[in-house]
Symmetry: C2
Subunit: 267 residues, 2 copies
């Protein structure tokens, strides 16, 4: 059976198969070698993710698990005040939850390579701009539909409530705590990790270059995640894994069965 | 267990998780509903694909198969003369091979939606241009490495042999035979099909707009495949499939377990 790489995380994982996404890029380079399985849950924090852990990684599964990326924290780090409160998870619990995930996965698949990825840096101004642009767009649509002025105002208020800038960390202070927690835990458990928070900030203009709305990734931001994860996977020998079936250039047109007998004795 | 969509085909399927690819786009829109499984085999014709059919679609598999796309023909349609000969499969055998694939899949998964996709139109001039550009690129690299002139000439000859324009149908004549075969077979078996060959040629400038090298797809070409396949899947109700786990907005922060008990009684 073909090995699997499971991508477990929040919206940044869920969106990783969009155009230019890091998940799709992994599926592409490991095609015919490993299956990349998408398990991203938009809006989830580590506390909620624990509820689904057993079903995503059932113990005693026959599927060989080559690797797992665990990529949470952006929602856990939401501010305690306002709408972010329901998603917020204190940093100590965040670290404990990550530890539980790793232990569960390792108990079922001791040889799986588990990689912890920190949340990206967040650009508060970028998130405000994004919320404003969505608001303007929706207002325009409302006005084009010629709704009663009172309805427009009311709807506008509701929209603003719904999409106002996320009550996530002002500046980077809070995020700073979640990122090292994740890296420290990886070191403590002897796991590889990607410090995305630091890595992205090495590049000038990371706010617009890597983030589309102050939080989610542009294609360039996806490329950073892809490149960092592939480094770890390739160090573990993933690119040297054999093809599932013969390359077409190794097939003898007169006796194609030969190539398949070699590669898959069961044929 | 989560249903699967298996994409079975040649290089146009294998490359479908590249940036802008139709396979990745399917994985994205059906995320949290269906797993999209990549089974693309560059250079394969239908004859060779039959050797791996049993392993890709094992009978008695517990995995629920929601759908399969079968997307072969570009290699089968290679010209009988020259290097294409080894990939060429006569059109009657091509049709028989497709029929065997459908019968095998349906015998294991009677409810699976099987979709036949015809090869795209081929732009012979585009393939020549591509081959020339690769050749020039490789020559430049050779010259930069300052090889002996004799080696450069020899290597150049070999390169040209290796990458000269594919001996695939001059013009569209041959392809015309494979495309209706695939569509007729789908009709005969009561299956949905995508007549990509005709669909793409409805757009002026399809040669450059949809094809990157006269055969493989640009992001715009990928978008055509995606759009046609999604139409069929959505007609079958795929977009109405439920999420695997609750939406984050349905989770009560004080009692998160409630949402998970509803959605996954086993928790």
């Amino acid at each position: 059976m073909r090995p699997q790489i499971v991508l477990f995380g929040d919206s940044i994982t869920q969106q990783s198969f969009r155009s230019g996404g890091w998940g799709a890029a992994l599926a592409d380079i490991y095609s015919r070698k490993v299956d990349v399985v998408l398990r991203g849950y938009s809006g989830y924090n580590t506390r909620w993710a624990l509820f689904i852990l057993n079903q995503i990684f059932p113990l005693g599964s026959a599927k060989p698990l080559a690797a797992v990326t665990i990529f949470f924290g952006a929602n856990d780090a939401a501010r305690l005040e306002g709408t972010g409160k329901r998603q917020h998870v204190p940093v100590e619990e965040y670290k404990d939850n990550l530890r539980k995930m790793v232990q569960h996965i390792k108990s079922g698949s001791p040889n799986a390579l588990v990689v912890l990825i920190t949340p990206p840096p967040i650009d508060v101004e970028g998130r405000r701009e994004y919320a404003r642009s969505v608001l303007v767009h929706l207002f325009t649509r409302l006005l084009d539909a010629k709704l009663e002025p009172s309805s427009v105002i009311l709807f506008g208020k509701c929209l603003y409530m719904a999409i106002r800038p996320r009550k996530r960390l002002i500046g980077q202070t809070k995020q700073l705590v979640y990122t090292p927690s994740s890296v420290f835990l990886a070191n403590e458990l002897g796991l590889p990790s990607v410090d995305l928070w630091s890595k992205m900030q090495e590049t000038d203009g990371w706010q617009k270059k890597f983030l589309s709305d102050g939080l989610h990734l542009t294609p360039e931001g996806n490329a950073v995640v892809f490149s960092e994860v592939v480094k770890i996977f390739d160090k573990a020998g993933f690119s040297d894994l054999p093809y599932d079936f013969p390359s077409h250039s190794d097939i003898d047109a007169e006796h194609p069965e030969k190539a398949f007998l070699q590669h898959c004795p069961a044929v």
